[in-house]
């Protein structure tokens, strides 16, 4: 399990290792065809900042070779904001006295139909809070059964499950699972996740092994940028990616770098703010480190930034997203999980991607392959 591997990389020492990288380390990484974890550390270190143009060129080249001039499109659908966890940074945390929604199956179908009117989406990401009693595996299985009629690739962003549960959902058409580790800092993790199942670091960080063992086709990873030092967290994620690729070689992997913005209205104030330049550097570094990993940008990012990055390393994007349950049809006014920065319609995002010389690909999977 990865939790044992992670123990070999103490947090503080890893941070120091990254911060001690020199320009010579960066140049060595840039000259290699295949980078190791130390090269990745060099590429995200402050020493690499002045080489960002060279990094962009390389990232663009590798992305073109592997993915061509395409961007895979997906759309998220929040099934519920009901959650038993107490993540201190999340608007859906259990002590927030807000109205909770769990979409009924009829409502869900209405959402699917509304989404299909936005764009020819075929890749849906259904997102849930953690409420196993009311929105557990049987609910998710039924949701997949219903979604199958409308979409050809079904992914879930869901609480960590048992291996048998992932396997069961795969039989209902599940093609991928996304799970954000949030942070790999074991000690600090408990401060952000004080209650509920999510407070168990090991259960979450080893969920990816269980997905691999269950034969989930695509595994999505991510750290929430804003909690801990992003360079260290992303290095741990890169380590995790390499570990998973080695152990579960039939799975496809995607990475996400969701970054928190400064709080409005007295919400959680991020500990770390990552600039656009730093996110670009991280994206290029990840592509140079791994030519084949899918790099996904959500509508958390602003339009101009997304439009520029879609030719430089990013390979998957969402568009027209609503981050509240039932946001497309049933309950358009409920509380969002996070604020959408790219508020353009799916059609406008589609046009912007085309204008950048990239083909938005809606269908790249078929359930007959399941």
């Amino acid at each position: 399990m990865f939790s044992e591997e992670l123990e070999k990389y103490p947090w503080k020492e890893t941070t120091e290792r990254i911060m001690s990288k020199t320009e010579a380390d960066v140049l060595r990484a840039l000259s290699k065809d295949h980078c190791d974890l130390d090269d990745f550390m060099a590429l995200i270190s402050p020493a690499a900042s002045k080489y960002i143009e060279q990094m962009a060129q390389l990232s663009r080249r590798y992305t073109l070779e592997r993915f061509g001039k395409t961007i895979s499109m997906f759309v998220p659908l929040y099934l519920t904001n009901s959650c038993m966890n107490g993540c201190v940074y999340c608007g859906f945390h259990s002590e927030n006295p807000m109205k909770r929604t769990i979409l009924t199956y009829d409502e869900m179908v209405n959402e699917f139909k509304a989404i299909k009117k936005l764009a020819p989406f075929e890749n849906i990401l259904m997102v849930t809070g953690e409420n196993p009693a009311k929105a557990g595996v049987p609910y998710l299985a039924k949701s997949l059964d219903l979604a199958k009629e409308y979409f050809s690739s079904l992914k879930l962003e869901v609480m960590p499950l048992k291996m048998e549960e992932y396997r069961e959902l795969t039989e209902h058409g599940l093609t991928g699972v996304i799970c954000f580790q949030e942070t790999y800092n074991r000690e600090r993790y408990k401060i952000y996740h004080p209650r509920g199942m999510k407070s168990n670091f090991e259960w979450r960080v080893n969920a990816f092994d269980r997905m691999g063992e269950a034969g989930v086709h695509t595994i999505g990873m991510g750290v929430l940028i804003g909690l801990e030092d992003w360079r260290t967290d992303c290095t741990m994620m890169a380590l995790h990616l390499r570990y998973l690729q080695k152990h579960y070689w039939k799975c496809k992997y995607s990475v996400n770098f969701p970054r928190m913005r400064r709080a409005e209205n007295g919400g959680f104030e991020p500990n770390v703010i990552m600039s656009d330049r730093e996110l670009a550097q991280l994206t290029f570094a990840m592509r140079i480190f791994d030519h084949d990993v899918d790099i996904s940008y959500s509508t958390r990012e602003l339009p101009a930034f997304r439009d520029n990055m879609c030719t430089l390393g990013v390979t998957t994007m969402s568009a027209g997203s609503k981050t509240e349950p039932g946001g497309y049809f049933s309950y358009p006014q409920t509380l969002e999980q996070f604020h959408v920065s790219d508020e353009r319609s799916a059609a406008e995002v589609d046009a912007a991607i085309r204008a950048a010389g990239r083909e938005p690909v809606y269908k790249d999977w078929d359930l007959i392959l399941q």
């Binding site: 073109l64 070779e65 592997r66 993915f67 061509g68 001039k69 395409t70 050809s152 690729q245 070689w249 039939k250 799975c251 496809k252 084949d292 085309r354 010389g357 990239r358 083909e359 690909v361 269908k363 790249d364 999977w365 078929d366 007959i368 392959l369």
Partner: protein, 258 residues
Amino acid sequence: MENLILGGVEFSSRLFLGTGKFSCNEVMRKAIIASGTNMVTLAMKRVDLNNSDDEMLHHVMADGIRLLPNTSGVRNADEAVFAAQMSREAFGTNWLKLEIHPDPRYLLPDSVETLKATEKLAKMGFIVLPYCQADPVLCRQLEEAGAAAVMPLAAPIGTNRGLQTKDFIRIIIEQAGVPVVVDAGLGAPSHAAEAMEMGASACLVNTAIAVAENPVAMAEAFAMAVKAGRMAYEAGVAAPVTSGNAVASSPLTSFLND
């Protein structure tokens, strides 16, 4: 230039095209036309199999161009056989590019499963063109299993590295009783020309054309290279002079003159 006979069908062009990675369907279509190809391969997973008006399919179809559906995405022989049956139903063709790559990273073909699937599909009446490792023994086995051609890789997909497997492809060409189509990794027209000069029956190109600054011009360039390479092969490419042809100052066989 001789026409290619493959699966009982005659092809005037020996360049086949892949249809992924293009910036838009219009550019893809123009590149297909410019290449003069008679056959394009298309990933089933990219197409809505229930919709005959599918946009991508619409842009691929043209007079004189045969559709070669491929099974990209399947991970074993059973999935490939199922996908092949769906393909035959949806596209109305029994031609199939068999791709089984359980490793989604480098997309390297699984030799064991490819051989199993080829055997089953050939018996079911499919014209099977398996994408495979440049493994001469495997290619013989695929041929025996009923493959209509073999499609060994020149280099890993999308790498543009050219004929990295040249020594093995040379043996495959020498031994093959079916057409040898060099697939994957050809990055420049010169790579394709080299494969054709060696006696390959055809080349399949995708990334190098799709990601070129000007895919339409690049498609034409590949067409010319494939044709030039083939013509050179048919004309008899001169063997390079090596030290083996030189006469040693102290001949080893002088004793035979006595």
